[in-house]
């Protein structure tokens, strides 16, 4: 009797398991195998690429919002009300000042109080939070995001996404995605001075050297190049064309060696040495201000604006905001970006088409409105309509389109260099084109707000060859801990020695000793760790 009862029970349990498994195989699961049944409140049943998302009932979504001082958040922005009227979603921003955003982000995530959407996170910044489980492995839920998936496929962004993968093969950050690599920073020259001296804009770094030398000959007591960004910008974009990573680009200690299919330690590669030697030469011959690597941006701008220097690093905005207005004291002074000079590695750029994006709190998945939230994020950040909306605003109110589809701000709305002096500002008064929402997207949209000069610059950049990306080599948790012990000291030592070499306080002849010192700091063991992580990932994930 008892055994029979037991058997019935077992059969029941087994039966329900089968039914349960069967239920799991229908479309109610995300790719991660999490049951989404009961989480579809307010979601659209059929939501696919090209659709306008609208929640079927009102939806509140909290958002960690980075507040810029020059367009501080206002609650009456058209942005907020228009989001609600288009999508039935009310965003509830937690306002965090730009100045200390990273600190507060870490705090709210660590204390378990993170809003659903954690915006403005750069690739790599999500890593500290991965092991705590506080943020969502978004790669498990891409089926809920048709627009995101569409862009990944259309623009072939899989290699970029792979760089975000952690040891478990998942990624935790929804990056901003670009259609094409966008190189903004390069050198800007006083073009009037180049013309006066009969020089043309340099096309290679060797020509940069000769041009600077000619300017120096005409102004013997000046430093022709006095740079800002603590030299990190110029080392970054010059480094690419030398086939290495330096300055801002020196994020990890490793560089992918395509020909040997392994990672090298960046700071000891011949390319890195060559880069250092080049800048050593500039500083040594008085062509580059040694203060370029230490001075504040304002000091560098002052030197450029007062005619004490003739070249400086720049992005499109710097030209318009920092240089042109302040050159007013020098009659006839003009300034322009030069196309990124080619280096020993050829006419190349290295770049990712991913940029800062959002993390999602893992608490979101517990909500019965989870699916709707993901659909909303997909529409606002990744659909063409959403991206146009957050950048340009509302057609007829903030901008107009002509027959060819070209957008134009309404005359009473100013933004960047457009409609200067208009009574309203697209960012300050309407909330559009803000850094939290408007980034990435198709090249056409990206360049729609550029000046003609900048569009022309981007055209020349589009001809450059893009270097291949490094494959992922994620550490597991134990390796991560070991690696952290080496990474920072190695990086600090490389950056510090780089400056010493360039400024001449350390002689280039001590290069071998420098390599030995790195070895003593664990370079070899570290590289073994990286390369074994790479091999393991490759075997596991192909």
């Amino acid at each position: 009797m008892r055994t029979k009862w037991k058997r019935t029970l077992l059969t029941l349990v087994a039966g329900s398991l089968v039914v349960g498994t069967a239920a799991c195989s229908d479309d109610s699961t995300g790719a991660g195998g999490v049951d989404l049944e009961g989480k579809k409140v307010a979601a659209m049943a059929e939501y696919k690429a090209g659709d306008q998302f609208k929640a079927t009932e009102p939806l509140d979504v909290s958002l960690l919002y980075l507040d810029q001082a020059h367009y501080p958040l206002k609650n009456d922005w058209l942005l907020w009300s228009e989001i609600t009227s288009r999508t039935n979603v009310k965003l509830q921003p937690t306002v965090v000042p730009y100045s200390d955003y990273d600190q507060k982000r870490g705090l709210v995530i660590s204390s378990g109080n993170a809003p659903t959407i954690i915006s403005k996170t750069y690739p790599g910044q999500e890593e500290p939070f991965v092991s705590s489980g506080a943020i969502l492995p978004v790669s498990d839920y891409l089926d809920l995001m048709p627009h995101f998936k569409e862009k990944i496929e259309k623009w072939k962004l899989q290699p970029e996404l792979n760089t975000l993968r952690q040891a478990d093969g998942k990624f935790y950050l929804l990056p901003g995605v670009h259609e094409a690599v966008w190189q903004d920073y390069t050198l800007a020259f006083r073009t009037d001075e180049l013309t006066r001296l009969g020089l043309s804009a340099p096309k290679t770094w060797d020509e940069v050297y000769t041009v600077l030398k000619a300017i120096k000959a005409a102004h013997p007591d000046s430093y022709p190049l006095s740079d800002r960004f603590e030299g990190k910008a110029i080392l970054n974009y010059a480094g690419q064309t030398f086939g290495t990573q330096a300055g801002w680009g020196y994020v990890k200690n490793t560089t992918w060696n395509e020909s040997e299919q392994k990672f090298d330690f960046t700071g000891v590669t011949p390319e890195y040495k060559q880069l250092i030697e080049y800048f050593r030469k500039l500083v040594d011959e008085g062509l580059m201000d040694p203060e370029s690597f230490t001075q504040k941006d304002d000091a560098a701008i002052q030197k450029f604006a007062s005619g004490k220097s003739f070249a400086i690093s720049s992005n499109a905005q710097n030209i318009v905001n920092d240089y042109r207005p302040n050159l007013g004291n020098i009659p006839g002074a003009t300034v322009a970006k030069i196309p990124l000079p080619a280096g020993p590695k050829g006419d190349v750029i290295r770049g990712l088409r991913t940029e800062n994006g959002i993390m999602i709190s893992s608490k979101a998945v517990e909500s019965d409105k989870f699916v709707a939230t993901m659909q909303f994020i997909d529409w606002l950040w990744y659909s063409d309509k959403g991206q146009e909306f957050v950048k340009w605003g509302v057609e007829g109110t903030t901008f107009e389109k002509d027959a060819s589809g070209k957008r134009k701000l309404k005359p009473e709305v100013a933004f960047g260099g457009m409609n200067v002096g208009a009574p309203k500002n697209l960012q300050r008064d309407f909330g559009f084109s803000g850094g939290v929402f408007a980034y990435g997207g198709p090249t056409e949209l990206l360049q729609s707000t550029f000046t003609e000069e900048e569009v022309a610059f981007q055209k020349t950049m589009a001809d450059k060859k893009v270097l291949p990306l490094a494959p992922p080599a994620p550490f597991d948790e134990l390796e991560r801990e070991r690696a952290t012990l080496w990474e920072t000291p190695l990086k600090d030592f490389v950056l510090q020695s780089t400056l010493q070499f360039i400024l001449g306080s350390r002689d280039m002849s001590t290069w071998d000793a420098y390599v030995k010192e790195l070895d003593a700091k664990g370079m070899t063991e570290y590289m073994e760790l990286v390369n074994s992580a790479y091999k393991r990932y490759k075997e596991k994930n192909g």
Binding site: A69, W248, N318
Partner: protein, 312 residues
Amino acid sequence: MVTTDPTQLMERLDKPAAPRRTSLDDSRGYRIFRVVNVVVLLGVVAVTLYPFVNIVAQSFSSELYIRTGQVNLFPRGFNLDTYKLVAADPVFWNSYLNTVIYTVTATAISIVLTTIYAYVLSKHRLKGRNLLIGIAVFTMFFNGGLIPNYVLVSGLGMTNTIWAVVLPNAISVFNLLVMKAFFESLPAELEEAAAIDGLNTYGILLKIVLPLSKAVLATMILFYAVANWNSWFQAFIYFDRSELFPVTVYLRNMIAGASSATAVGAVESNALAISANIKAVTMVLTVLPIVVVYPFIQRYFVSGVMLGAVKQ
């Protein structure tokens, strides 16, 4: 040595040391020392005053002159437009008002709590007094850390309320110890006499002790008010809405935001449109109240910190 007569005590403290003619006063070494002293201190004054004067000069200058580094001690391209611009910004005044409210409230709470705690600690006959001192001093060396504090304050439901900035750290242990030492230096006989005349503990504190403690109270008010006026971190941590931010957070975002637009790969680095003279004006307006109030409280301040420094 125990002095029991307060008037005698005061006299002794007030009387300047009798002028004694020693060879040291007139020695060459001493005169050289005085010259060097003056020169060095003038240097210190210049170093500390210059940045301040420079910012004031910038606030009255036009942007072009600041950007080309031509503004030093005096304004160039004098204009008041920047002041008008900043004064017309409702966000600035809202933050300013917040700062005033937080500072007044926080200072009031701190003074009351510190006075009560310090007065109790000054009574040697109190049982468990050492434990109470120990609890306070412990917090000088150890604290829970950022995240536990945040969890505590948000767990108490104080985030986005004024309490998040006025209650935590309301008692500064350093100030507490200064006040305790001051109360200890008051003659016990005064309070005994008051007790005989029928005052209870609270009456003694309010009617006898506090009126005699104006100097230390003024000092404490100054300490707390300056600290609260300048503080930004708690507000930054606990407030999620910009209309609650004090002016220090506003200022910090304006300055740090404009100079650190270069986070790695910050491709859309449009965070640089705030001009140097707006920054200067905001700084001047922010420090102004404290600078104006300082001279008036200063006489209490000098005597106040010294109080309790010497124990008989």
